[in-house]
Symmetry: C2
Amino acid sequence: MIGSQALIRTLVDAQVSVCFMNPGTSEMHFVHSLDSVPEMRGVLTLFEGVATGAADGYARIADKPAAVLLHLGPGLGNGLANMHNARRAHSPIVAVVGAHATFHEKYDAPLQSDIESVARTVSGWVHTSGLPRDVAEDGAEAVAAAMTAPKQIATLVLPADVSWSEGAEPVAPHPAQLAPAVPSIKVSSISRSLASQQNTVILLGGPALGERGLRAASRIAAATGVHLLAECFPARLERGAGVPNVDRVAYLAEAAQEQFDGVTRILLAGAVSPVSFFAYPGKVGDLVPEGCVVETLAGLDQDIVGALEAVARDVAAEAEPVLSAAVDTPRPTGELNVMTLAAAIAHTLPDNAIVVDEANTSGFALPAATAGAPRHSLLTLTGGAIGQGMPVAVGAAIAAPDRRVVNLESDGSALYTIQALWTQARENLDVTTILINNSSYAILRMELLRVGADNPGPRALEMLDLSKPDVDFTAIATGLGVSAVRVTTVDELVDAIERANSTPGPSLIEAIVPPIA
Amino acid sequence: MIGSQALIRTLVDAQVSVCFMNPGTSEMHFVHSLDSVPEMRGVLTLFEGVATGAADGYARIADKPAAVLLHLGPGLGNGLANMHNARRAHSPIVAVVGAHATFHEKYDAPLQSDIESVARTVSGWVHTSGLPRDVAEDGAEAVAAAMTAPKQIATLVLPADVSWSEGAEPVAPHPAQLAPAVPSIKVSSISRSLASQQNTVILLGGPALGERGLRAASRIAAATGVHLLAECFPARLERGAGVPNVDRVAYLAEAAQEQFDGVTRILLAGAVSPVSFFAYPGKVGDLVPEGCVVETLAGLDQDIVGALEAVARDVAAEAEPVLSAAVDTPRPTGELNVMTLAAAIAHTLPDNAIVVDEANTSGFALPAATAGAPRHSLLTLTGGAIGQGMPVAVGAAIAAPDRRVVNLESDGSALYTIQALWTQARENLDVTTILINNSSYAILRMELLRVGADNPGPRALEMLDLSKPDVDFTAIATGLGVSAVRVTTVDELVDAIERANSTPGPSLIEAIVPPIA
């Protein structure tokens, strides 16, 4: 069979059964082969950043890779920002980047560029297929590389002639290297040390923020008095009633420093040593207090959950985890602002929802408001490249068709990858987007002052202003096939969310909210 | 003064006076400094691909660089596809990519990535500023590098602390290396050879497609009988009544082979040896016929126009260029299709317009229809990365506020960088966008067959289909602040174009046109 067909068959056999794509001429045989391997679901996107972000969201929920299909170097470029976020999320993704036929490369045709160099900046594994007879092996290897701890992007560059030529056969899945256990001598040593130490924080990240990890950590905290914190921007955090609640490290370094004030020991479980998101003149970047010791219980390339459970067995055999009590948030009233917005989310959140949070400044009240809401999975902006929320919502909804996805999306961020709405409509995904329109890059208005750029003039402020003209997201969503409504009161907002959550398929609610900064 | 202020002052002194931007926290001091150097015009975009495409369009019309300001690696990624197109257009651009403070880099904070490796794939010059006292020199060097023949992208990575620290002073412009003359011995030799040769094509590209180059080439053709062709996708081609008309090499290799049929000698003047855009199974990629000699009169790093004029002096002292006669295209009637669409453009084209052509399959009738239209500059998709037209229109309009920009834009392409409309509205740019909605990636339906992927199944065809849901560009444009109207007849189209062209500011006309493929 031809290369593309053998590749797709191999991917499907390795449990990769969704491909988010924005193909071009050099990918036409891959597209053509979709009909010969019907187990592969092709999902068309209008922009590559939607495809890569969707693969990230899919991986966070499905815990396995989707494929993405991109058109040469420029397609990879368009997908790069959300691959950056996926890299930071340690999401497994198999990126297939089409390239010119091997014999065409020498001509330096217009679309020729250095694909591998760009791919390497976001991928843990990069390979260019050379021959049809090898392409299935390359695909199996890509899946294994993507799933190898700590999980990563594997990029396979696929020349057009490798794709279209005969001489390929599917191969069986390759084994991924699973995360090895933390040595028991290390676990024992840390377990012993916890009894005798106060002012210790266990900083949880990655898989530690799933239910098993959180329960083990909560038992340890209950038995020993250590404090728990979660990394600032988790790929996926289980939250809500019945799950232990763990505060996240604050985005604002000033607030994070308070969280670590007096801490003498930080124990890392799937997280990295805390640093501020940006540098600021005259402020520290390292959030570890003077004299505080940082130790690693388990790195992202180790079995983090297993290590937490082993420590819990040692120090907390009798302890129960502290679970969030269910809180029935009353229907909010009054004006629509970031506080009542958060209450509206908490009041309306369906059971077992997936919350995709790219609300930025408008979302700051959300963690407290939803700690006792129905159980949900929270997906956040892991790499700081805005434009991630709507694509991640696409992928999450495809990974979990039985769960409602609630995407809190700020206006400035939404505009990078607004094309995601069209794919939500085409695939009829159960996504409720709450588009928070404050007509500004509000976070930059805050950051401008935080970096010490005081007394900004009118020309600087204009660069942070999204009015002139105001963006009408209701019109844009309608244009992309998603039914939309604008709300200006919290009463309208609650009604609109309830209607959206109970209607199959996507909806967008444009909430006019004053900026906090 | 601080680094960013010295940098902006230096850029302005070197004639770089427009900065297309999408900044973030690490660029806040650059933004703040806009108020201290009012000669620099900051133009906000909602997506980085709009900024880089606008800089490309600006350079093609202004023949000097604009700056772009991007936010770390992900911002560069979002801008990469249109930087690829700009690289192929040899557009001079000064790209300033903000980075973490030098002392923050070691923390590998979430937005950290390998900026230089990505930048190198599209830039002729890449440098990371290290100290505030050097940043102005770096900026002057970047401008000189951008303008050095054959012109290119110069990327300056600007760490936040270099931007915000005191100790910088502006510097005077650095000289760019201008394109040297082709040695006169070579010119004479080629001039002598032209008299004795039939079946010669002079293939024109780059600066040869300006008015001076075209006039010289036309005189040579008139005197010697050589044929003229222009490269397939010129950055800028002067056309219309009063300018010599030169056919472009066809996109379809089959048609291009006919153009070169019987040619025994190709003389390159600012163009590269012709190759097919993509590879196809069993078809040649090299468009040079068997036995045909390819010689270079002048490369892109040489004075191409000077070389053509020198040859014209040698061989065509008495000859006049053959100028296109003005053709008064009657108002078209009948159904709206790609033929009547082209006639409508020709009928309505204002004097001295700039035509940005990303119509792809829907634009194939345009060259013939507009050869005798009022004089205009044609800007095409140089690098094959679709999503270039609307941003290029932004930059062209800012470079030439006295000229109407007519942007022929296909639906699939428009959706990559649709955010450009908002900047057109904010800056009140005189851009008429004719959005050709055929509800498909029509070029891929054609390419699917050309690559030999016959009898595509329903799942493959679905990946080329932009209906389900249909995109409503009128709604989207309205949402982004641009007044828009949908037309379904050629009569409505002509009326709408005339109204748009005579109304200051941007308009979008959504033309419902059946696909040709």
